[in-house]
Structure formats: C-alpha cells, structure tokens
C-alpha cells in the first residue's frame, strides 16, 4: 500500500467510523425508548386496574 493509498483509506475509514458510531449511539437510544414505552405501558395498565377496582 502506497502512502497516498493509506491516507485515502484513512479518510474513508473516518466516515465509516462516524456512521458506525452513530448507529451504536442510536441503538442505545432505541433501547432507552423501548424501556420507556414498556414503563409507560405498565403505568397505563396500573391506572386502568385502579380505575376498574
């Protein structure tokens, strides 16, 4: 691999790394949102049960 090819590869790898980092951060965000939806569903169910009682 020539010096120029190393620099070109490094530049494209930076893009790939940023996109991958974004995907990882987004995966964490999605799991947090999923947890929050579960908690809210639980809250809504408890509320309905209290109303029914």
């Amino acid at each position: 691999m020539t010096r120029a090819e190393t620099f070109v590869a490094a530049a494209y790898l930076v893009l790939l790394a940023v996109v991958l980092l974004y995907v990882v951060v987004y995966a964490f965000k999605l799991s947090r949102l999923e947890r929050e939806v579960r908690e809210l569903a639980e809250l809504a169910r408890e509320r309905n049960e209290r109303k029914a009682a």
């Binding site: 620099f7 940023v18 809250l43 809504a44």
Partner: protein, 220 residues
C-alpha cells in the same frame, strides 16, 4: 430505509468509481479524498442552511415542530462539520505536510462556522425547554446562516493559495473533466442521501422522545 440504502449504494459506487474508474490526477495521488471531503463539506453547509430555513419558518409561523427540525438539521451539520475538518486534515497532511494551516482563511472560516454551531447546543441546553428556548435557538441558527455563504465564498475571496481554488462551482462551470465531475456528483448525491437518512431517523427519534415525555407527564 430506502433512502439509507440508496445513499449507501451511491457512496459505495462513488468510492469504486473514484478508485477504479477515473484516472489518477497528476501531482496528487491522494485526490480520491476529494470525492469524500468536498461532498461532506457541501452537505454540512446544506444542513446548516436547512436548519436556518426551519428556524426562519419557526419565527415566521410560530409552529413548535420547526424547532425540533431546525435542531436536528444543525445536529447533522455539526456531524458533517467534524467529518469535513477530519477528512480535510488528512488530505492536508498528505499534500501540504501539515494537519492544519492557520494562515488559510478558508480553513479558519470553516472552523469558525463549526464552532459557532457547536455553541448552539450550549445555548440550547442552558435554557429551559419552551417557546423562549425555541425562539432563541432559531435566532441563533439564523445568525449562523450568515456565516455559511461567507465560508463558502472564502475559497474565492481568499488570497492565500494553500487551499485549492473552486473546482466544482465556478463562473466558468466545473473546473474538472467530465468523468471526475460525474464521480463527484455520484458521491455528493450519496452524501446528501446519507444526511437525509440520518436527519429523518434522528428527527423520528426526537419526536418519539418528546411524545413519550408528554405521555409520561399525563400519566403520572
């Protein structure tokens, strides 16, 4: 999903064409970085411009949804700004032998633009959520938009000759051969597609976040 797939395909096609199809540019064997660096920089400008447009819509129409749209666009602009600075530095190290040149106005102006929009987040999160924060953020985003054409035109106005002159957008048309311009267009379309896909995903996530917060407040 379709946009992300199309963007990925175009970026891969652009990379393949840059490395295998177009002839090597004499005197700059690292020229394939051009097909990454310039589209990334133009996409950053586009994101900042989009953010400012949404900010203007917010101030004009006073609709809350534009606040989130403007914020997301600026968020994307900063990500592409980081990419512009990093890819530019890598190219500079190869061609100029230095990671950064403070005497180049083009570089410094882009850094100023980037730092200006980075400070947007500090301003935003130092204020309580609500219409006041939305308006303040919108005004700040609009001020930043003034820097976009200045940074874009600096390449033409700058007297230093370190940073290459305009090769894509100039009065005489693209200053490159047809095949180079074609590969540039493929890469630029891919980069815009990537920005669009990230923007859509991020906006959906932020809207969902906001809806969940409202739902939690009404349930508790």
């Amino acid at each position: 999903m379709v946009l992300a797939f199309a963007a990925g395909s175009l970026l891969l096609a652009g990379l393949g064409l840059a490395l295998l199809w177009v002839p090597e540019v004499e005197g700059d064997p690292a020229f394939p970085i051009f097909y990454l660096h310039v589209p990334v920089a133009l996409t950053a400008y586009a994101c900042f411009g989009w953010g400012a447009w949404k900010a203007l819509r917010l101030l004009w129409l006073d609709e809350h949804r534009y606040d989130l749209e403007s914020y997301t666009a600026i968020h994307m602009g900063v990500i592409f700004g980081v990419l512009t600075l990093v890819t530019g530095s890598i190219w500079a190290k190869f061609t100029w032998g230095q990671w950064w040149v403070w005497s180049s106005r083009q570089l410094v102006l882009f850094l100023v633009l980037f730092l200006f929009y980075s400070a947007y987040f500090m301003l935003r999160y130092s204020t309580d959520p609500g219409p006041r924060r939305a308006r303040m953020s919108a005004v700040y985003a609009l001020f930043g938009a003034v820097l976009v054409p200045v940074s874009f035109l600096a390449i033409r106005l700058a007297e230093d000759v370190i940073h290459p002159g305009p090769v894509v957008v100039s009065r005489e048309g693209p200053q490159m051969t047809g095949d180079l311009f074609f590969v540039f267009c493929v890469s630029f379309a891919g980069m815009l597609g990537l920005a669009g896909a990230l923007y859509t995903n991020e906006l959906t996530g932020k809207r969902l976040d906001s809806t969940l917060r409202e739902l939690r407040e009404s349930l508790e």
